[in-house]
């Protein structure tokens, strides 16, 4: 009997396959692509947030050394490309012809032989603007008489969306013993990926085939939309998404640069490269959050939570471009009842246009789940303080109990599985919660400020089931195409696109688990529309729940066929053949077996008569439901009464993402997500002044955490498999970003609650806390 090879299947903490090339700098990002004769695109950008364009003079730029083309909105107009549709059924300007609607908007494209020549020529384009009144506050934008951002819409109102039962909720609020409410602003932030957006576009005029290498999280969707807009047959368009340096939702969008580069390639007959530098990318690409909400929670005096309601205004910038599923204009915010067994809830959101770049990125968040989790977790904490009940105790009292799963929430979602109390108790034990509370009590007596914050979040990911989820009508399935070569090696292709999540390893582990083939023998490919099966891409923690499931099911299809071949080889009846990881044997005679590799060889050389040759399968997986990862985070902060700095002393994160495929990758995802949540809570913010000038336009003014500021994360897990996912997995890419901000804020407010502080909007800058301490007479000057 031969030894079964180590395959690194489910649960193996194997190091990521792709990291071999990443850590050696042998990866290929868009900016690494260089084609013969390639020219470079740069943009004239608007200094004004809102202005009418009186005239554009491109003559001096056209005559500049090295310039090969100058493209304006008027050049795009006859092609129908001056505006393009967004994923939310709105449209966005590619290049303006009449007015600009946000600062740093692309106005004119300049194409030259070198980046430097293009940048120099940009300065020679003369644009005469007539400044218009600016509106950057979404609440003001919705007021009568506000400047109209989109004259084609004649209103700044984008949508009104409601979910839940208003009457039942209001009734419970009237009957409640205690009601708490809080106005909160979830600030505008940028995803701050390492690699800014860009593309290389090449139109082969002989074949009539545009090929675009671009930083996109969803290449197939780009191809379909491009075909629909341009009428170029979809089979002639090729979108390649090479290695991507982070996406976090920001690269689901198609930006003007890609459209202008494609047109410029047609005009010049040459490959055109466009890559944003940081100072162009940060202020002009899409943003996340920017959400003003009034949240209220009703409870009985004994702490039984009854109902939750939210009234909110969402800032979408100049274009409604959220990459939301069609039926959810405000994403999955209706998950806002979170981990709690409430009797009713109601949310209503109005969207507004403002003079800002488009917003609504699901920044490491499954479509507005971050905002929802923040709202409920802040309010539960406020309620606990108001009632004088420990925040952990209040949560434990109101969690959906394990026996109630699958659980239908009052908002209509059917949670697949959960054990919320289990996760919180584990986090409490790990951090020593009771001891910390005692320490806090002692410190309060000494005038020291220490806070403990909890966030017990429930996510909703894995979009999604075809009965409910589509984008532009395309159902949100997951796809996998797996082929085993005669030598037993595997090529597997997916309709998703990793931006650093580790798909090449995770998917290989799933296939390894299902087929018993070592991951070293499995090549995973994504991102090329000419080769990968159609898919909706990677965002919203959907890859494992959808494409991962597709990989498992496709592998099982292969195994079914392999079993028939094995029976043929073993001269046994199919029903007498038993599968054991990596081999088939005859029932009762385990020594008589064929390895999957032997079976693969036979699939091409000695398959049963009448059977089709080859060993491969394709599967488009339609998930029956969403998955609902969850977790409990506990944060401990100490606040300096002199500087106002809130220092995170400890942070324990207990996550439950169902069955784990690779613990190392899951841990990495959680570390990254926590760090992003930490950045959101303490330092990141994009703001605008009254003239629409952006602040936070680059990394001089927009701070993201480095290793110096980042706390030490203590992670742990519980495992509650999803009952409907073929692997019992749930998805984890966004849990930590979604769940952690509330824990940080809850901790800081917990520290300050005795002073009468009930809320502080993020980011929790030291100066904000210092100002509060001054107001309360609690600041130290020495």
């Amino acid at each position: 009997m031969t030894e079964v090879p180590v395959i690194h299947g489910m649960g193996s903490a194997v190091k990521r396959k792709e990291d071999v090339r990443f850590i050696q700098g042998r990866d290929t990002y868009v900016d690494d692509i260089s084609l013969p004769g390639m020219v470079y695109l740069d943009f004239v950008r608007s200094p004004y947030a809102h202005a009418r364009i009186r005239s554009i003079s491109t003559e001096r730029a056209k005559g500049a050394p090295g310039v090969v083309a100058v493209i304006t909105g008027k050049d795009l107009q006859p092609l129908g490309l001056d505006w393009i549709p967004t994923l939310s059924g709105d449209k966005m300007m590619v290049l303006p012809t009449e007015k600009v609607v946000f600062q740093m908007q692309e106005v004119v494209g300049v194409v030259a032989e070198s980046r430097y020549a293009a940048a120099d020529a940009v300065k020679l384009v003369e644009v005469d603007y007539e400044p218009l009144p600016v509106v950057t506050d979404p609440k003001k934008a919705l007021e009568e008489g506000s400047p109209i951002v989109r004259e084609d819409k004649r209103t700044n109102h984008v949508f009104h969306w409601e979910a839940g039962d208003r009457e039942a909720t209001d009734r419970l609020f009237e009957q409640a013993d205690v009601v708490v409410g809080q106005d909160m602003y979830y600030q505008r932030i940028h995803v701050s990926y390492m690699e800014p957006c860009g593309c290389v576009a090449y139109y082969d005029s002989v074949k009539g085939t545009p090929t675009i290498w671009m930083t996109t999280q969803a290449p197939h969707v780009v191809r379909t939309v491009a075909s629909l807009i341009t009428k170029i047959p979809e089979n002639k368009i090729r979108i390649i998404s090479p290695d991507i340096g982070g996406g976090f939702g920001g690269k689901v969008y198609v930006y003007p640069g890609s459209i202008v580069a494609a047109v410029a390639s047609i005009v010049t007959g040459r490959p055109v490269k466009w890559v944003n530098d940081r100072s162009d990318d940060h202020p002009s690409t899409a943003f996340a959050r920017d959400f003003h909400m009034r949240a209220e929670l009703a409870a009985k005096r004994d702490g039984t939570l009854l109902a939750f309601r939210v009234k909110a205004v969402s800032d979408h910038g100049a274009f409604f471009g959220d990459a939301n599923p069609s039926k959810f204009p405000f994403g999955l915010f209706s998950i806002c009842t979170g981990s709690y067994d409430l009797k009713a809830a109601f949310v209503e959101v109005d969207g507004a246009y403002t003079n800002k770049p488009q917003g609504g990125i699901a920044y490491r968040c499954s479509f507005r789940v971050t905002e929802a989790v923040y709202a409920i977790e802040r309010l539960v904490d406020i309620m606990a303080h108001r009632l004088g009940i420990d925040p952990a105790e209040l949560r434990l009292k109101n969690f959906i109990p394990p026996e109630k799963f699958p659980y239908r929430s009052v908002m209509g979602w059917v949670y697949d599985s959960g054990n919320y109390a289990g996760a919180l108790r584990k986090a409490m034990e790990k951090i020593g919660y009771e001891e910390l509370r005692r320490e806090q009590e002692e410190k309060r007596k000494r005038g020291e400020l220490m806070g403990i914050g909890i966030s017990s979040f429930t996510e909703i990911v894995g979009a999604g089931p075809s009965h409910t989820f589509d984008i532009l009508g395309i159902k949100m399935f997951g796809s996998a195409e797996i082929r085993i070569h005669p030598t037993g090696k595997v090529i597997a292709r997916f309709g998703t696109r990793s931006q650093g999540q580790g798909h090449e390893t995770t998917y290989a582990q799933i296939i390894a688990e299902e087929l018993g083939i070592p991951i070293e023998d499995i090549t995973v490919e994504e991102g090329d529309t000419d080769t990968a099966p159609y898919g909706l891409g990677t965002y919203a923690s959907r890859s494992t729940p959808t494409a991962g499931a597709a990989a498992a099911v496709a592998s099982r299809k292969i195994r079914e066929k392999a079993k028939k071949i094995a029976a043929h080889l073993l001269e046994a009846r199919e029903e007498d053949v038993v599968w054991e990881r990596g081999r088939f044997y005859v029932k009762g005679a385990p020594a008589k077996y064929k390895t999957i590799q032997e079976v693969a060889f036979a699939a091409y050389t000695n398959h049963p008569p009448g059977m089709e040759a080859g060993l491969e399968a394709v599967h488009y997986y339609d998930p029956p439901n969403m998955t609902f990862p969850f977790g409990s985070y506990i944060c401990v902060v100490d606040i300096d009464r002199g500087t106002g700095e809130a220092k995170v002393r400890r942070f324990v994160a207990v996550d439950d993402c169902g069955n784990i495929i690779n613990p190392l990758i899951v841990d990495g995802q959680i570390h990254g997500g926590l760090t992003m949540g930490f950045g959101t809570a303490f330092m990141e913010e994009i703001g605008y002044d009254q003239d629409g000038n952006i602040y936070g336009a680059n990394f001089m003014d927009y701070t993201i955490p480095t290793a110096v500021e980042t706390p030490k994360w203590e992670t742990d897990k519980t495992v509650t498999p999803s009952p409907h996912h073929p692997l019992g997995a749930k998805g984890v890419g966004e849990s930590a970003t979604v769940g952690s901000p509330a824990a940080f804020v809850n901790a800081v407010v917990d520290a300050l609650w005795p002073l009468g502080v009930t809320h502080i909007d993020m980011p929790l800058y030291p100066w904000k806390i210092r100002r509060l301490l001054e107001e309360k007479g609690y600041a130290l000057d020495k």
Partner: protein, 145 residues
Amino acid sequence: MKFEGSYQFPKSSSEVYSYISDLRRVSECIPDLKSLEIKSEDEALATVRAGIGFIRGDFNLRFNVTQRSPHTNLGYAVHGSGLGSGVDISITVQLEDLSTGGSTLSWVADTKVVGRVASMAQGMISSQAEKIIKQFFECLSQRLR
């Protein structure tokens, strides 16, 4: 951003007015002036080298005299662009004779900067704009002594 200041001169308001209403002479006081073209009595085009910190480059500015009330009031409008930015300055000047001889010049400058410079150097722009405007009036005051 609003800046203001005042200066006293040994010269009378009519003498000061005569000087500062002449765009060519006034332009000599524009800091870091690279080129100047007088289009008319009320309009001049200038290129100046300006910036904050490492963000430096040329700004093309159009100066217009927007108000003339001999011996008492003058108004200027400055509109320009450069470095992916726009600048609009509205300046009003008031002159008043002093009973002790000489005159007082009071100025108010309403400044708006938009675009890359404003967004990248948000924290520094106010002090830099004030510095440039003050340099301009300091220069005028020197010449009128």
